[in-house]
Amino acid sequence: MEASIAKPTNYLNATHGAASWFLTKDHKRIALLYLISVSIFFLMGGVFASLIRLELLTPAGDFVSSETYNKFFTMHGVMMVFFFLIPSIPATLGNFLVPMMIGAKDLAFPRINLLSWYIYLVGGLMAVSAMVMGGVDTGWTFYTPYSTAVSNTHVVMTGVGIFIAGFSSILTGFNFIVTIHTMRAPGMTWMRLPLFIWAHYAASLIMIMGTPVIAVTLLMVVLERVLHFGFFDPTRGGDPVLYQHLFWFYSHPAVYIMVLPGMGVISELIAGFSRKPVFGYSFVAVSSLGIAFVGFLVWGHHMFTSSQSIYAGLIFSFLSYLVAIPSAIKVFNWTATLYKGSISWESPMLYAMGFIGLFTIGGLTGLFLSAIGLDLHLHDGYFVVAHFHYVMVGGTLLAYLGGLHFWWPKITGKLYYEPFAKVSAVIVFVGFNLTFFPQFILGYMGMPRRYHQYPEIDGWQVLNVLSTAGASILALGVILPAFYLTYSWFKGPPAGPNPWGVTGLEWETASPPPTANFEETPIVTRPPYAFTNEDAHV
């Protein structure tokens, strides 16, 4: 950071030196620490993705050995899920914005917030060192008994890394919940909260209710591997399927940890770029809680072929259809918000529109998988891979990129070069569809996932080549922002407090904001997204 002269102090230039960053208690600086670290993990995960796609270019397993390939997809999944996607929006944008949006000076527990970053870092370093020492090959799901009794890779190191990182997620969720409950500015009632806050509140609930269970489950795996305990060991009468129950009790809700904050971002973007209140505010707000709650009841839909009882399968299938309803409500309300809006086509809005379309496809293909009769065919095939990349990449990653662009001027005080941003949004969209759409077809045709080589069946290679080609385009699209955003930080024109002309407390303070966020505690008198005076009186 160059010393900026004669500028108003803000959170970036208020103090200097490494210690002022690594020991900071300012949620905004911690958000930036997180931003840098999750980006690194995303790039690592992305490199593994590229290697996966290279291997699958040809049917034969000719690029790397099967052991290596197995490590590639495992570490891709682990990095992307636990070290990128779960912390991505909450720990960066959420950390930055939750206090600002509710008019608070900081999160309730700033020191714990910093601690959560260090915990994340320790967990991440353990996962990375496991990777450097030779990697892990169990798949990101760590199914027993392979993970406990058979794999001879670094399961323990990775497992402990995830265990530790889990606590950082718990602490973030915990901090958000307490903050949202106790630190709202005068006048900031629940029904005046921006939808971003509702979404983060709902996601935080999952973080505190679900994450401890995955932590203890991984602990059991580690105990079983290291001390030869027997929780899931079938040779001693244990049940490998019990592991799956415990794993998915967290990991299904976790997919909503991944997508809910993204949905929060989308609500802000849609409202901001149509200059209009979100249609059906209370429905969108409450549907977040609905998703979080019902999300806890459906985990068995990952286990339809696991030998789980057919009755349990039916219940899980039924509830999976219920969880689709709040998502549907959101999609329709966002679309309706556009009606009679004043819509500007700026890059964050492009991401938001992409999100709605791709999440719809991703979500609806989730419904294929919840139909038990159909899942017996689709399970563990590329259809599943396509489904979750549509929701996680087409959904959350797009929301993350959109949000990053939207709040970038607030975070850095600088404007990036918009045409670049537009182009890269389009590249991401095109590359993404080219990568993952063919995988739906491959999946229905029967290509199993986690396959290092595949038989030469009509059309399979063609579809895989398309997918790899798409992945290269996608890689270009996601790497571009790293360049022009960084450039803008140093050389971009100043943004001013509210470059987009939108509402929200965070836009009422300077860009970048002062350390205490606001000159004076704001007093809230209107609902969110009140663009006209008429909006202000509901």
């Binding site: 106790t182 929780f231 049940d239």
Partner: protein
């Protein structure tokens, strides 16, 4: 909640040295800490919950094995430890109470220290019990040996659960004792007054929670086979 916030905003002008800059008042700060601790305890319930889930499944599957395997636990020692832990909850409650009343540092330290002593006794007994299991080859793994061959395999599940549950519980106590030591030190320096005693109060919640877990572990692990 925000109503608190609003109400407090008006008269939140006292500047207690303990008030962190991002809170408006000590009340708000105390409320956030207390609420935060309860939220933390929620995560603890679910943390132990995963293990309890495994316990439930296997208890349903192997009821007889549980009876046989648990017969190697010492009910007198378990009962003794339960009493010790309940006693430590009482001393902890008195420690909080002493801080709240702004009692003399000496009194605060006595109760905190008493809690630590009882905790140490509990852990000491736990060590004796663990040693006993080790010498009798009741640690799951290749050296496990159970006198009834019919349960040689499945009894390892019981002991896995036993060690995991009690081990996790004991590690919570160790953490608790470290914090107690820090609090005792601070109390000795007279840092806790009737105005500000949040750490002691929070710690009390934690300690009682650990007691709570044990209240369930005791009958579920020790008191299975009594009638047989």
């Amino acid at each position: 909640m925000s109503e608190v916030h609003a109400a407090l905003a008006d008269h939140g002008h006292e500047h207690h040295p303990r008030l962190q800059h991002h809170f408006d008042s000590l009340e708000q700060q105390l409320y956030a800490s207390t609420f935060g601790m309860w939220v933390f305890l929620v995560t603890e319930v679910l943390f132990f919950g995963g293990l309890f889930m495994a316990y439930i499944v296997y208890r349903i599957w192997y009821p007889d094995m549980f009876v046989h395997a648990s017969s190697h636990l010492s009910v007198p020692l378990g009962t003794f430890n339960t009493a010790v832990l309940i006693g430590s909850s009482l001393t902890m409650a008195y420690a909080v109470n002493a801080a709240q009343r702004g009692a003399r540092p000496r009194e605060q330290v006595i109760w905190l220290f008493g809690t630590m002593v009882l905790g140490a006794i509990f852990l000491g007994v736990k060590v004796i019990e663990y040693m006993d299991k080790i010498t009798h080859h009741l640690v799951p793994g290749p050296n496990f040996h159970f006198e009834d061959p019919a349960y040689q395999a499945t009894a390892q599940i019981y002991y896995s659960l036993y060690f995991a549950l009690t081990g996790l519980h004991a590690s919570h106590m160790i953490v608790g004792m470290v914090i107690l030591a820090i609090l005792a030190y601070k109390a000795a320096k007279g840092q806790f007054t009737a105005e500000w005693y949040t750490p002691v109060e929070i710690m009390g919640l934690y300690w009682h929670f650990v007691d709570l877990v044990w209240i369930f572990l005791f009958p579920l692990l020790y008191l299975i086979g009594g009638a047989h």
